[in-house]
Symmetry: C2
Subunit: 199 residues, 2 copies
């Protein structure tokens, strides 16, 4: 026995979501059909509208339904700093710290030759054009502290060596509030190597 | 800073799914927008079609887009047994054991006065009509082994006392393959009280 075709289609469709296996998909489908049909319609509409209308900001490449995202359209931001990130959620994370008032550039991924993702896919020409315009004094490379993120950061730094721009990388070290005992060796080695003078 | 309105709408819409909090909803929305717009459209369509077309089987109340579900429409099933369940997924679970060939009745919930769910909401009149037709010889109450499930089972059994129908309840006991040490006291007490002769 299996479910009727439309229910099975819905269960299969839920599998496109990250972290959703067959059991969770089944639970989601039945929850909506049994208890929340209004929520199902709302979700369907939101998905359709977002998939159609949300594009990329023409300046920083983050996801946005407008030509310019709210940050690129904001004149009060400091144009002399630009923070390079892998994903729009990283942008939100940095904005939430409240400590950065510069501009952003979102790569929407990282260099990954094995998946066929090269400099063109990350919009690096757009980034370099923005850097060459002269307004930017410092570029902060805030790609993820993974092998791919590090490689991407080094590649970008290498490409703009000829420009008079300060290139920085976010600090690696022990997380604030953590205990040394539970920090992995790689991070601890970075934290030791990157130690700062206290006096 | 927050996301642009359409993205925020999509994130909020994902919150209708069971077990999906703000972070997971955000991850789902960005996954679909960044990497799988085709999957987003498929999901939207499946949701719309299912929410519109899937109704209840007129015989057993399970979710189905046809007047009769595949089991109720199957003439080879044994009409003399009827298994009463709380939800369509329980029906699938019992079908997958392959050991039952009777009919089903799905309550789509359990009695819960605190949530305002009474006998009418569980379609009990439809169940009693089916029992009174005379074809059914045994009703197996397979509601969940929870307080509400037990109460629902007892209520149903009480209501049809006047009919000449054998009423049974699925066995409670230690799960097959489990270890006694890890079984809770209530289950163990049930398993002892429900012991069966081996000779």
């Amino acid at each position: 026995m299996s479910f009727s075709p439309l229910i099975q289609d819905l269960i299969d469709a839920f599998r496109v979501l990250p972290g959703v296996g067959p059991k969770t998909a089944q639970r989601m489908a039945f929850h909506l059909l049994e208890r929340d049909r209004h929520g199902a319609s709302t979700l369907a509409t939101a998905l359709t509208v977002a998939a159609e209308k949300v594009g990329h900001c023409s300046c920083c490449r983050t996801l946005s339904e407008n030509e310019l995202c709210s940050i690129c359209a904001d004149n009060s931001r400091d144009e002399s700093q630009i923070c390079v990130l892998e994903s729009p959620v990283d942008m939100l994370a940095i904005e939430q710290t409240g400590g950065f008032n510069g501009g952003y550039f979102v790569l929407m991924g990282h260099l990954s030759p094995i998946d066929g993702i090269g400099p063109d896919d990350l919009g690096l020409d757009l980034l370099f054009k923005r850097l060459e315009s002269g307004a930017v004094k410092e570029m902060i490379l805030a790609t993820n502290p993974t092998v791919e993120g590090e490689a991407t950061a080094h590649f970008i730094a290498e490409q703009i060596k000829h420009l008079d721009i300060r290139v920085t990388r976010i600090a690696h070290g022990v997380p604030v509030g953590g205990e040394l005992e539970y920090v992995d060796g790689g991070t601890l080695a970075h934290a030791m190597a990157g130690r700062r003078s206290m006096n």
